[in-house]
């Protein structure tokens, strides 16, 4: 898998954790080491190429989530059936590819 894509997925998972904090605390979990979370986030961001991080930020602001899975060749962000010629199975997850319709970053889950 492409290293930048892997970092983007980790970054999105961390951002989900941040959002989940209130719900988690309601259930009874403590998430007290916020410093650790911010450090982990900064470390991921420092490894991302600038233009890719900018794209991630822009997409997150617009849609809430920048990286979406592809299931049965369908972008799970906008539900567009991706053109089959767009990317061969061998190329999937080997670079940062965006949906031609909504622009979200794609992760082939299968």
């Amino acid at each position: 898998m492409d290293k930048q894509l892997l970092l983007l997925i980790s970054l999105q998972e961390l951002d989900i954790l941040r959002k989940d904090r209130i719900k988690e605390e309601e259930v009874g979990f403590e998430m007290d080491n916020i410093k650790k979370m911010e450090e982990a986030r900064a470390s991921i961001v420092s490894q991302l190429k600038d233009h890719i991080y900018r794209k991630y930020t822009r997409l997150t602001k617009r849609y809430g989530s920048a990286v979406v899975p592809v299931v049965n060749n369908i972008c799970q962000g906008c539900y567009l059936l991706l053109p089959t010629q767009m990317i061969s199975p061998e190329q999937q997850n080997k670079s940062v590819i965006t949906c031609p319709n909504c622009g979200r970053i794609l992760y082939w889950i299968d």
Partner: protein, 154 residues
């Protein structure tokens, strides 16, 4: 509705009794491996659960821990329950060592509800779970599931 959901999740859950693990990251590793996902996804799940654990322990007390995370690399909620051979230090809120671990991994957006329902159910029942001697003495996975289902009332 909620009962059916928990019943279904329990039926599909992976159970491991007598897990040979000495510390919390080791049992997380072992439990993620029972989920039988591809190697690269397995590694990503382990990292995500450990990352969550570093932010705050999921050892909720009375010997129960619920390591969990949401991850983009899976399509549905997956659960693995492990009973370690010996109690493990999980940096739990009450400092007690843990002798039952519920690992939950869920996709980020879909099935949001069932993830929270199960988390809530375990958190609300953890005192009963930890007091149930049978749960800690049964010898096979099926009996364990039956006992846990009784505790959850499903």
């Amino acid at each position: 509705m909620e009962k059916n959901l928990i019943k279904k999740i329990l039926e599909k859950a992976e159970i491991r009794l007598n897990v040979d693990a000495k510390e919390k990251f080791q049992i997380i590793n072992e439990l993620v491996k029972t989920l039988k996902v591809d190697k690269d996804k397995e590694e990503m799940l382990i990292n995500a659960v450990i990352q969550r654990e570093k932010i705050g322990s999921t050892g909720i007390g009375n010997g129960i821990a619920i390591p969990h995370t949401r991850s983009l690399v899976i399509k549905e909620l997956m659960v693995a329950i492990g009973r370690p051979k010996k109690p493990i230090n999980f940096d739990a809120q009450d400092k007690k060592k843990v002798n039952l671990v519920f690992l939950l991994v869920a996709p980020p957006y879909a099935y949001k509800r069932e993830y929270l329902i199960l988390l809530g159910k375990i958190a609300e029942t953890f005192n009963e779970i930890s007091a149930d001697e049978k749960l800690f003495s049964v010898k096979n996975e099926e009996d364990f599931k039956t006992e846990l289902s009784k505790l959850f009332g499903v």
